[in-house]
Amino acid sequence: MATIHFDNLGHSYHPHPSKPADYALRRLSQEWEDGKAYALLGPSGCGKSTLLNIISGLLVPSEGRVLFDGLDVTRCTPEERNIAQVFQFPVIYDTMTVYENLAFPLRNRKVPEADVDRRVRQVADALDLTADLKKRAKRLTPDAKQKISMGRGLVRSDVAAILFDEPLTVIDPHTKWILRRKLRQIHEEYRLTMIYVTHDQVEALTFADKVAVMHEGAMVQLGTPQELFENPLHTFVGYFIGSPGINLMPCTLGGDHALVEGIAIPLPDRAIAQAGGPQIGGKFELGIRPEFIELTRTGTAGAVPVQVVGVDDLGTSKLATLRMGSQTLKARLSEDQEIPALDAAIRFPSRWTKLYRDSHLVS
């Protein structure tokens, strides 16, 4: 197990990158703790696979360094780094049995046969593969094959980190859920450093201690699932995490308020102090998560009248679509909350109201 440190890391597939868009991975300096589960979350093409391949050593970054426990491994092969990786599609050795597949990484490293047997049985047990150990790997279902791929990642007890590159893509939803829980259990039991790449926020949020959200090659936020939800540092995090994502409204600044189409909305004091007043340029946006909008009736202090356009009943909660001026907002309400038809109004609790300048949180 190792602490992973990124030192001014960046990567471009162009030979002479000049503008930020040339970078598949933009400058990044960070430290990832030993024994934690991390998720790299973002849509396709956001650079998460590039970062993963740099961590595993399949790709040498064009700039900066990667350090494992303070040791520069930027140019080391995956083997030298002692990394295990599980790929998106099952990789199995067709001619071997399940047992031989799981033993392969250990036998290649000349581990004593008794230890091999012990580890293989342990891992097979954890992944429910014990009954299949003697079968040819080729004959198994895609689910089982992917379990073997994962097993080969988990079988080495001394790895610096285990990397998962969207490993549950080929697995059906129910098994997906079981396997994710299994991985979580294995992580808690052995305290392995795990890095999990996915584009599925549910997968990332349920698996990881810390989630790194990637957007256009940049890591826009690294935080616990709660931090990402409550305090998105970037509008993309607000939009990508949560369902539906954060409500965003273009705004201007006026005194200690944000003005959305002339409607004054109070801001947390810190935000205004940091924003430095209206003379500083940039595109301002006001964000609030649907979960934090308070629905009341007109006449309540600080409430802004809105028109209720529609309500979707989601079973465990209600999702109201509201119109404020020309802005459309979503608000998530509890099942038993009454929704006024004519005199609805909303309040923006200043604690949850976020001000963004050029997509970045002002705080």
């Binding site: 995956p78 599609f89 392969f104 290649n108 003697k134 040819r136 791929s149 080969r152």
Partner: protein
């Protein structure tokens, strides 16, 4: 799922039946017809039963030709299959000019007509003007494919290797290109040696194309005719007379239609038998336990 019985399906396969009947079954039946008759002239035929078959099976020259043929075909396989795999493993991947160039160079021998290949090697091996023959002579090596039967035999073999190894290499290359990069990356991470990558990833993934390569090369080499005919004419002596050449001598040279027909059928059955054995062995190697 319930199977639907519908006789109209027969209409869909009738065209194939007709084509196969005219292209394969009817000609074959003509041969069967000849093989059981003595033919003196048009309308003058006698039924002789299995006499021709007995004559063929007792033919000493044919036994020699058969042994020669089997040794030759096995030698072809033993050289061309491993060599083709090695060449395919060494070929550059991806879409580059180097790849295209390699592919074109490899495909060249395959594009040359068989009798031209024979002529090329006939000249190539000549001691007076041929590049190889003259070089051997200059080096003081006694090489003459027209008088020494071992030289002739080796020349025919090398010619076949030159002509057809490309086919094996191209087939294997196609098989190798279909392996997803993740397999190599996973093997790297699992700490697999180069040999292990070949043994556990590349070779199993090439199994399908290797079946095709072995069958094609076996059947083609077992039926080889044109190149040795042009190069050595079957000589010196009978040292490079293979089955098809002997068959031609019998049918066209001596006009022993009945005997040649019986021989053809036996020949056909031998090719069929060998192909079946190769196919079964290769497709079942490494499968081990059946679930």
């Amino acid at each position: 799922m319930d199977k639907v019985q519908d006789n109209r399906a027969w209409f869909l396969i009738i065209p194939v039946f007709v084509i196969v009947a005219f292209s394969a079954i009817l000609p074959l039946m003509t041969v069967v017809n000849y093989s059981v008759q003595e033919i003196f002239g048009p309308g003058q035929t006698f039924f002789v039963g299995t006499e021709w078959f007995q004559a063929v099976l007792a033919d000493e020259r044919l036994h020699d030709a058969l042994v020669r043929q089997i040794v030759y075909s096995l030698a072809v396989l033993a050289i061309e299959i491993p060599l083709g795999i090695v060449i395919a493993l060494g070929m550059p991947g991806g879409r580059s000019a180097r790849t295209s160039l390699t592919l074109v160079l490899l495909a060249l021998p395959l594009l040359i007509p068989f009798n031209v290949v024979g002529t090329i090697w006939q000249i190539f091996g000549r001691g007076d003007i041929g590049l190889a023959g003259a070089t051997f002579r200059a080096l003081g090596i006694n090489y003459n494919y027209t008088s020494n039967s071992i030289d002739a035999w080796v020349t025919v073999l090398v010619m076949d290797v030159w002509h057809w190894t490309s086919l094996v290499a191209l087939l294997c290359y196609a098989g190798l290109q279909s392996i997803p990069p993740a397999f190599y990356q996973a093997a790297k991470i699992d700490g697999a040696s180069k040999w292990a990558v070949f043994r556990y990833i590349q070779l199993p993934k090439m199994r399908g194309v290797l079946v095709i390569a072995v069958l094609l090369r076996f059947m083609d080499s077992f039926m080889i005719y044109t190149e040795p005919f042009v190069l050595t004419g079957g000589g010196p002596g009978n040292s490079t007379t293979f089955l098809s050449q002997y068959l031609t001598q019998m049918a066209v040279g001596q006009f022993d239609i009945g005997k040649a027909a019986a021989f053809s059928i036996i020949y056909f059955l031998i090719v069929l038998l060998f192909s079946f054995v190769f196919y079964t062995v290769i497709t079942h190697t490494g499968e081990g336990d059946k679930q």
